[in-house]
Symmetry: C2
Subunit: 219 residues, 2 copies
Amino acid sequence: MPRISVVDRRAELISAALRVVAAEGVAAATTRAIVAEAGMSLASFHYAFASRDAMMRELIEFVVEHETIAAFPSIDPGSDARSAFRSSLRGYLDGVRADPGREAVMFELMQYALRTPELAALPDEQYSRYRAAVTELLEGAAAALEVRWALPVDDVARMVVTITDGLTLAWLADRDDAAADRVIEFAADSLAALALPVTPPSPSTVPAPLSPPLKETAT
Amino acid sequence: MPRISVVDRRAELISAALRVVAAEGVAAATTRAIVAEAGMSLASFHYAFASRDAMMRELIEFVVEHETIAAFPSIDPGSDARSAFRSSLRGYLDGVRADPGREAVMFELMQYALRTPELAALPDEQYSRYRAAVTELLEGAAAALEVRWALPVDDVARMVVTITDGLTLAWLADRDDAAADRVIEFAADSLAALALPVTPPSPSTVPAPLSPPLKETAT
DNA sequence: GTCTATAAAGTGATAGAC
DNA sequence: GTCTATCACTTTATAGAC
């Protein structure tokens, strides 16, 4: 009835589809289920989208663009790298626990895209964006904690994503909070080993090296 | 025609279903696609299985039971823990590269099971078996490398599975071999830190402690 | 633009001949 | 036991009234 615009209708359908996928999975996200969730008629779906495939494509692009990794809380300055990683990973896992469907959507849509030839390139971009989001956090953390990364920061971000993915999958499978905490302890130790202290306010105690100390990664 | 037994027919259908899922995904594994792959008629499917759901259940149970993690090569004694982990992880990733569909099946079937109420408990078991397989390798490695694990061996196995899962997902998404190698380097460093040296043939140099040295994890 | 009604194709499952 | 033929249902997509 309300005669809304096509772009608004598309946005509503994408949003509804996301809710259906989160709640019941990609397989359950039929056009009928989506329009029911959105409260509109089946014909409106095909007025807004040429086909279900086209809508799935936009859904995945939307998710890749807007829904990055579940909120990592920001770094608490004054702490060391180990406890910063620990609290960040705990915060991340809390986010997964609070809405398991939301994170499962990422994996499901990634698999759907990998199985769909025209969408097969999107997971690559999805992971690039994950890493970019984590990279931003890592650079902020390096400044706040007065450390520098022993590897290129994008590589450190890749390690973080590797661990969060593995952590998430295992938790989705067994919901073992205590075991996940032990993994986080290990991960925090391992990642903190990549944070090298940089003593900033006393450049006189040690003569400045003429060659860069290691691989330099700061931006 | 050949009037084969029900158990054989079930096995053939499971095998055919596995191939279809590996090649085209769970969504494409319709009863018709499976019987076409198996070279039999549609009615034979329902003679062997009460329903497609029942068949999917057996398929997942079969995978959970038989297809554990892609072959980790065995540990080379004489090397240190770091290079042992590195070569094992490389061997694992080689297995994924050689047959990406095979490993993707694990993730897809896990998600399918999580979305299916009657099968929702199977992923937990799947991960238990993963860890059990890795645990066996870790115990062999500890003996061959003359180390002991700083944590309960099942926890170490969980760390390994966390990393292999994360590694596999990222590689499936971007197929970036070089980046995967860098993750493996990091993972080998991190995991090797859990291998504590135990000096075996000189029990006289240090008086035997009356209390266990730390948490003991050997079986 | 939005709806109802329906077409066209695919799905799991079964009947019944052999 | 195994098959062909078919049912009952769901799916995406479209036609056509308003």
